[in-house]
Amino acid sequence: MVLAIATLLTTACGGSRTPAPLPAADACLITASSATVDSASVVVTSPVNVQNAPRPTTWGERFVFDLANDTAARLDCRGRPTPDAAGPYRIRDVGRSTLLLEPIPGAHGPRLTIHSASEANARDLVDAGVDLLLTDIPTLAAYAGTRSDVTSLPLGWDRTWVAATPRGPLSLDSSSAFRAGLARDAVRADARAAEGPYWWTDTTGCDAPTVRSALASTGTPGVVYPRDDAVARALAERLVAILGGRATAVGLAPNAFASALMAGSEQAYVLPLRRTTRDRCRSLTELIGSAAWLGARGAIVPLIDTRLRAVVRRDRLSVRFAWDSTIAIVAAHQ
C-alpha cells in the first residue's frame, strides 16, 4: 500500500466535471503545433520518484507514470480514446531530479526530459526555455506566462484536499466561507473551497466496505500530512492553528504516512483525493483499504479543491485535456 494517495491518483475515468474552456476545432485540444520535434523538455514542480511506479504519490509522479501507460487506455476530456497520444514511454532515471522518457519501439512522440524542480529552479528552467511547465504555484505560472511564445492556462480542478479524522469530524467551521478562507489564505496554490458532489460519499451500488482493523482507543494530537506536499503542509498547519491546544503538524515521508494512515492513531490526516474516478466502488474499496477506520467511525472533511496550471510553448508541443482534467501530450497533430 504505497498509499491511499497513490490509489486515488491512479484511478481512472468517469470525470464528472467540465474542464476549462476549450479550443473550437478539437474540444479537448489546448495547443496544436504542426512542428515535429524529436525531444522536448518538461518541468514539473512536484517530487517525482520512479521507485513509486506504477502507483504515484504526487501529481508529478501521476503525470510521468501516465506517460508510461498504454495509450489505448487513455481518454480525452470527453472520454474518447486518444490514438494520437504520445507514448507509451520507457522511463530512465538519469539522476539530479531529471528523468529521460523515450517512446518504446513503435510508439510515437518526442523524447521527453522531465525536470522535477523547486520553484526557484523552475524559474531558471523557464528562462532557459522549457516546452511544458506543469505547476501548482500560481506565481510561477504567471511568471512563465509572461513569455510571448507560450500559452498559459489553468487545468481542471482535479484534487480535493480533505482532513480524514479517525474519531469523527473535527470541531471545525463547516461553512463554505471557511473553506474559501482556507483556499484563499492558507495555501499558495490555485485553490477554491471544496465543492461536491464527492464520489466517496456515494456508496450506491457498492458492497459495504469491510472494516479490517480496530482503531486505537486513544490518539495522539498530530495533524499528519505528506511531507513533500506544500498544500498539505499549509492545510495541516492551519488546522493546528485553529484547533490549538496540543495539536501539532507532523510531516511524514510517503511510506510512513501510509503506515500512519492505516494505524489511525493521529488526530487527523490531510491528504488529496482525486475529484474524479472511473470506478467509484473500486476507489471506495481502495480508500477503505488504505485506512480501514474510515469504514467505522472515521470521517472525511473536504477542505479545498486545487488545480494545476500548464504553460506550453505553442510552436513546439501539442497538448490536450485528459479525462481527469489533467493534461496529455499529443504525438503529432494531424
Partner: protein, 555 residues
C-alpha cells in the same frame, strides 16, 4: 564468633578504615581546591553569557526597529492591513515570513492593536489568532524575554522583544526574536566540559549536573520568562572540570590498588597470626579438656616463651597441684580405708579368736572336772583350733597382700634397673637395654616397690612387642624437678588415644589373657611413692612410660 574471625575483622578495620579515610580525604581536598579554582572562571563565563544575552537582545531590538521603519513606507502592507485590500492579503500573510528570512530572526509576528495576528513568520497559518497579552507584557520588559512560542510542529522557546509602529494612525506590534534551543545554548559553552542549559524550574535541573562528578561548578544567569505571568528562568552554566574527573579517576585507581595490596597483605598476616595464636590455643584447649588427674601430665606448648607458653605452664602447674591434691586426697582416703580395715581386721581376728577361746575354756574346764578325759576332749576339739588358726593365718596373708608396707629410704634406681634387665634376660628372649645416667639422684622410696613398678612396666613392654621382636629400653636421668626419672620405652604396637585414656584404669586390658591390673598397680605404687607417671604412645609408634620419683635429697 571465633578468635580467628575477630582477628581478621580487626585487621580489616585497622587497615581498610584508615586507608579509606585517607582516600576520601585526598579526594575531598583535591575536589575542593579544583572547584574553588574554577568557580571564579565559571562565574566569569556567566558574566560573558549575560553580556551575550544583552547583545542578542539589542540585536533583536535593532532588527525589529528596522522592520517597523520599513512598514511605514510599505504600500502593499498599507493596502492589506489598513485598507483591507483582499488582493494584497497574501502579501500580508507572507510578510512576516519574508521579513524573518531577511532579518535572520527565528520568530516574528505582526499584530494589530487588538492583538490579532496579521502575519506570522514562524507559523504562517496562525493568522487571525488573538494574542493581546504578549505585546503588552513585552512592552513592560526592558530587555529580551523568554516566551514559549507556537509553531506547527509544537511550541518552542524564544528570546523575544516587541516593537510598536503606527501606520495610518493605527498601532501595530511586532514581536520577534531568536529560537532558544540547543544550538543557541551551545554558543555560551565556549570550552570543553562546559554545559549550558535553560531551566524553567527553581532548582538546578539534573541535566546540568554530571552525576559522575558531583561537585561540578555551576553558575546561574536569570532571564525574564513570560508564561501566564512574568517569572524568571535561569541559564545554568555547569563546568564539570575534566581535570577533576581525571584526578579522581587516578586517585580512585591508586586507592583501589593500595586497598587491594593492603587487604591482601593484611589478610595474609592476619591468617598467619591467627593460626599462630589460635592453633596452640586450640591444642591447649583440647589438652585441657582431656586433663586426667590419674593420666599423663599436661606438657602442650609448655616450651613456648610467650603468653601461651606461660598459660600452658600455669595450666601444667595447676594440673600438678591438682595431682598432688588428689594424691593427698587419696592418701587421706587410704588412711580412712586403713582405719576401716583395722576395724575389720579387729573384727575378723576377734571372730577367729572366739572359737579358740571357747576351746581353751572347754579344755580348762575338763582338766579341772574330768582330767582323765582331757586327752580325748583335746583330740575332739583339735580340729576346731587348727581351723581357727588356719583362718587367722589366711586372714593375715590376705591382708598382707592388700596393703604393702612402705619403708621410705634411698633407692638406687640404676641398680634396680640393672637388676630388672638382668632378670628379664634370664626369663625372656628379649634383651632389655639400659641407658643409665651417672647423675641420676637416689630416689626416696622402697626398693621392693620400685622393683615392682619397673617389673610391671618391663613386662608390659615385652608383651606389646609382636612376634618379630623389638627393643625395650630403660633410661634413667635427672628430672627437671630434681628427682629421678626412669623411662621404659618399647617399639611395640603402641596405643590409640582411647587406649591411652584408659591405660591406668583398673581391669583395663587389650590382651586376651591380661588382668588389667599391671598399669593400675604401677600408678598406685608410684603414687604411694609420691611420684608421677605419664605415658606417650601412638599406634605403631611404640610406647614410653616416664616415672618420676622424688629425690631422697631435698633440693
Amino acid at each position: 564468633m571465633t578468635f580467628r574471625s575477630r582477628l581478621l575483622i580487626a585487621f580489616a578495620l585497622a587497615t581498610i578504615v584508615p586507608l579509606a579515610m585517607l582516600g576520601v580525604g585526598v579526594r575531598r581536598q583535591l575536589t575542593a581546591r579544583l572547584v574553588a579554582q574554577h568557580q571564579q572562571r565559571v562565574e566569569g563565563m556567566a558574566r560573558v553569557a549575560a553580556q551575550d544575552v544583552e547583545r542578542e537582545s539589542a540585536s533583536i531590538a535593532s532588527r525589529l526597529s528596522t522592520l517597523a521603519g520599513s512598514l511605514t513606507t510599505d504600500d502593499r502592507f498599507r493596502m492589506a492591513a489598513v485598507r483591507g485590500d483582499a488582493g494584497e492579503r497574501a502579501y500580508l500573510l507572507d510578510w512576516a515570513g519574508q521579513a524573518m528570512r531577511t532579518t535572520g530572526l527565528e520568530m516574528l509576528q505582526l499584530q494589530d492593536s487588538a492583538g490579532r495576528i496579521l502575519s506570522s513568520g514562524h507559523f504562517r497559518n496562525e493568522f487571525d489568532r488573538l494574542e493581546p497579552e504578549l505585546p503588552r507584557a513585552l512592552a513592560l520588559a526592558k530587555s529580551a524575554v523568554l516566551v514559549r512560542a507556537r509553531a506547527p510542529e509544537g511550541p518552542f522557546l524564544a528570546l523575544v522583544r516587541a516593537e510598536s509602529v503606527r501606520v495610518a494612525d493605527r498601532r501595530f506590534d511586532l514581536v520577534g526574536g531568536v529560537r532558544v534551543d540547543s544550538a543557541f545554548l551551545r554558543r555560551f559553552a565556549r570550552e570543553e566540559g562546559l554545559h549550558v542549559i535553560l531551566s524553567e524550574a527553581r532548582v538546578i535541573p539534573s541535566e546540568a549536573r554530571d552525576d559522575s562528578v558531583s561537585d561540578n561548578v555551576v553558575a546561574e544567569l536569570p532571564i525574564p520568562y513570560l508564561t501566564d505571568s512574568l517569572t524568571t528562568a535561569r541559564l545554568v552554566i555547569a563546568y564539570d572540570i575534566p581535570e577533576l574527573a581525571l584526578l579522581r579517576r587516578d586517585v580512585d585507581q591508586w586507592f583501589i590498588a593500595a586497598l587491594l595490596v593492603v587487604v591482601a597483605a593484611g589478610l595474609a598476616l592476619a591468617i598467619w597470626l591467627s593460626r599462630r595464636l589460635s592453633e596452640p590455643l586450640a591444642t591447649l584447649t583440647h589438652a585441657a579438656s582431656t586433663i586426667d588427674l590419674e593420666g599423663p601430665e599436661l606438657t602442650v606448648a609448655a616450651s613456648r616463651d610467650d603468653e601461651i607458653g606461660t598459660l600452658a605452664r600455669r595450666l601444667g602447674s595447676m594440673s600438678t597441684r591438682l595431682r598432688a591434691s588428689a594424691a593427698r586426697l587419696r592418701q587421706a582416703e587410704r588412711r580412712a580405708t586403713i582405719g576401716d580395715m583395722a576395724r575389720q581386721v579387729n573384727h575378723d581376728i576377734k571372730n577367729g579368736l572366739i572359737p579358740i577361746r571357747n576351746v581353751l575354756r572347754h579344755l580348762v574346764q575338763v582338766q579341772e572336772q574330768q582330767p582323765q578325759d582331757l586327752a580325748t576332749v583335746f583330740a575332739e576339739r583339735r580340729s576346731t583350733l587348727e581351723s581357727s588358726v588356719g583362718y587367722l593365718d589366711t586372714l593375715a596373708r590376705n591382708y598382707a597382700r592388700l596393703t604393702p608396707s612402705v619403708a621410705p629410704r634411698a633407692v638406687d634406681v640404676n641398680a634396680v634397673a640393672t637388676e630388672i634387665a638382668a632378670s628379664t634376660a634370664v626369663a625372656s628372649a628379649i634383651t632389655v637395654r639400659t641407658r643409665l645416667a651417672e647423675s641420676v639422684p637416689r630416689a626416696l622410696g622402697d626398693p621392693v616397690i620400685v622393683r615392682r613398678i619397673l617389673d610391671n612396666l618391663v613386662r608390659n613392654a615385652i608383651e606389646s612387642l609382636d612376634a618379630r621382636g623389638g627393643d625395650v629400653t630403660i633410661t634413667t636421668s635427672r628430672a627437671p624437678s630434681g628427682g629421678a626419672r626412669i623411662v621404659v620405652a618399647d617399639t611395640g604396637r603402641g596405643m590409640s588415644q582411647e587406649e591411652l585414656a584408659h591405660a591406668f584404669d583398673d581391669f583395663f586390658t587389650t590382651k586376651p589373657d591380661g588382668t588389667g591390673l599391671g598399669l593400675s598397680v604401677v600408678r598406685r605404687l608410684t603414687s604411694d611413692l609420691n611420684g608421677s607417671v605419664r605415658v606417650e604412645s601412638a599406634p605403631g609408634q611404640g610406647t614410653a612410660f616416664t616415672i618420676e620419683l622424688p629425690s631422697c635429697t631435698p633440693s
